[in-house]
């Protein structure tokens, strides 16, 4: 909160325009001070990235430290250690259900960074995904199945935790839209099918189809054609023909046309997930909102803070002549643009067979949707804090002008937006599928830019088992 821009004696105001003066933030935010982590990963310098994470461990960012440590260790191929870090992260996230009164009190007088970071739904739901790949790499297929069963539960649990923090019905409704993920159901279904659990696989595929259809507006991702093939393959051969036909009648677009079928020749299935780019992060802006002479009439600080939330929203204007007493300056988070990866799709080929990836999920859009749902509550807390700081400074100033200035200065210096997020997550996920004959295969993997040009390639030798699955994941920064 800044009081330097007090309007002396009040200024007549009619049809006050949206009072959102955005200024560059003075202090480095969590994102700004940790962006080097991304550079280190782009350079493949896992050790430096881990050292950086370790150097900043502890405090209220402990969950992020564990998530990012688990993530970097995964890319570094240290799967056991990655699982340990992720397990610790999951345990910590569960324990953070219990709110700390002292942290909440501190956030009221300092900033939201004093509260332990609890993780966002799209972040916590990615932990089972990475752990599943860790276990597959370690050859522990049973443990990978456990992660498949956890995946969608983790998302629902995280959304519940988010809902707990939100008061306004419209914001709660927006948060509920985050509760499902077509990709996580689909990925779990593939893992179930790889284990011969066809009933579980079909149910997961069906849930995936429903989630993709319901969440298309949220993520901008349509149901992948490969999911339709999975539904048909498992559904029609395992006794779910009527369910498949119901789905086909309700959503014909789910199922690929007959000419698009790869056939169900004997052999195994290659599944490759491309994780590309960097997830959209939160940035900090300084927002100036007027305190009006009529504001003293609010019955409670909560009501006043909610009115300031409205006042900070686009399109707000005062409906009658009022005087501005103060300009409250607060630091609030806003969403920044995601960083698109150099490669946004992948083409895999072996022998005469080839397949190109399809979009499967958009974590950045999930991050934005989470922020939109939380924004009202974040602003409410911010204005509650700003009013508290204002009251403290005013009370001190009444006693002594210098004391008032000091309290005001402290308020300004401690004002920071909470931009914390799992920085190393990708922007988008895409999945390529290829059916190959059993035996050793040389799989060519080509990474494609948005224009379809090959920007990199590699060859991987894989062992395809009849009826089995080979799971691979790759990252393009």
């Amino acid at each position: 909160m800044l009081r330097a821009n007090r309007s002396p004696g009040g200024r007549p105001l009619s049809a006050l325009p949206v009072a959102a003066l955005l200024l560059a933030a003075g202090c480095a935010t969590y994102v700004a001070s940790n962006l080097e982590l991304r550079s280190q990963l782009e350079a493949g310098d896992w050790q430096a990235a881990l050292a950086r994470i370790e150097a900043r461990k502890g405090g209220t960012d402990r969950l992020l430290q564990l998530l990012q440590r688990g993530h970097v260790l995964h890319y570094a191929g240290r799967f056991d250690e990655s699982n340990t870090a992720f397990q610790q992260a999951e345990d910590l996230a569960a324990s953070l259900y219990t709110r700390s009164i002292s942290q909440s009190a501190a956030s009221l007088i300092v900033n939201d960074l004093t509260v332990a970071y609890r993780g966002q739904p799209h972040e916590l739901s990615m932990v089972p995904y990475y752990r599943a790949f860790n276990y597959l790499s370690l050859g522990d297929r049973d443990a990978a199945q456990v992660e498949a069963r956890k995946a969608t539960q983790a998302l629902a649990g995280a959304v519940d935790a988010t809902l707990r923090e939100i008061e306004r019905p419209e914001d709660r409704e927006a948060a509920r839209r985050l509760q499902d993920s077509g990709f996580l159901h689909w990925f779990a279904g593939l893992l179930f099918e790889s284990d011969g659990a066809f009933n579980d696989a079909f149910v997961a595929y069906r849930n995936a189809a429903r989630a993709y259809l319901a969440g298309g507006e949220l993520t901008g991702v349509a149901p992948p054609a490969a999911l339709g093939r999975d539904l048909e393959r498992v559904g029609l051969t395992r006794g779910f023909a009527s369910e498949v036909e119901e789905l086909r009648a309700a959503s014909p677009g789910l199922f690929p046309p007959p000419e698009a079928h790869q056939g169900s020749s004997p052999g195994g299935e290659v599944v490759i997930v491309l994780e590309s780019g960097w997830v959209a992060t939160r940035d900090q802006v300084m927002l100036n909102v007027p305190i009006l002479d009529v504001d003293r009439s609010y019955g409670s600080t909560d009501d006043w803070a909610w009115e300031l939330v409205n006042r900070a929203s686009p399109g707000w204007s005062s409906s009658y002549d009022v005087d501005i007493e103060y300009w409250l300056t607060v630091a609030v988070p806003v969403m920044a643009e995601p960083t698109t990866g150099q490669a946004t799709a992948v083409r895999i080929a072996a022998g005469q067979r080839a397949a190109t990836s399809e979009p499967a999920d958009d974590l950045s859009r999930r991050a934005v949707a989470t922020f939109e749902a939380e924004r009202g509550q974040i602003l409410f807390r911010t204005f509650l804090r700003a009013l508290a700081k204002y009251a403290a400074a005013e009370a001190a100033e009444n006693e002594d002008e210098t004391a008032g200035m000091i309290v005001n200065l402290l308020g300004v210096l401690t004002e920071r937006a909470d931009t914390r997020c799992w920085l190393t997550l990708p922007d988008r996920l895409s999945v390529a599928r290829l059916r190959l004959p059993a035996g050793r295969q040389e799989l060519r993997i080509e990474y494609l830019d948005p224009a379809g040009n090959v920007v990199a390639s590699e060859t991987e030798t894989i062992e395809v088992v009849a009826g089995g699955f080979v799971f691979l994941n790759r990252r393009s920064f």
């Binding site: 219990t98 456990v146 069963r149």
Partner: protein, 201 residues
Amino acid sequence: MRAPTIGIAIALAALAAAAGCTSTTVTRVPTEEQIDLSGRWNDTDSQQAAQALVDQSVATPWVDDFLLAKGEKPTLIIGTIRNKTPEHIAVKTLVADLERSFINSGRVTVVASSEEREDVRAEREDQQQFASDETVKAWGLERGADYMLIGEVNSQFDAEDGKEVKYYQVDCYLVDLESNVKVWTGFTKIKKFVGRSKYKP
């Protein structure tokens, strides 16, 4: 919000800072003591499930039927117990608990698992070269199991508003290794309520 509220907030923050100055403490406890921290499947669940299943199993007629028919105790091998829950369950611990409970029941003979047999055979092979003639153990005298115990752990979890009910069911089957006939099936259930405080200092 006015100055008194700020004062309270500052006091609370100071209290929290003081409360945060704790160090790690370690206390040894009896291994049979039941300690639940996270609500996840733990050693107590494993022991209780194993004991319940073995009690059920040895109390059913298949043991006496075998004794009557063959004149000796049946020989068991503990096969695979599959974890079908969304939790990482130490299945090996459950298998060990089942083995121990079966052995301690005195009603059956338990033979080593396939993994353990590899070690035993390696040792026996070693004996052929290095042990004395009087003590070397012969090949081909292993006891074959009559029955294999297989099973799985399933679960249902329900959570709302920080409270969680966890329901585990362990199903086991005893299969005749010669005929594939299931001579016994049993299950045991474990239900837990996990409550989380909404607030802490």
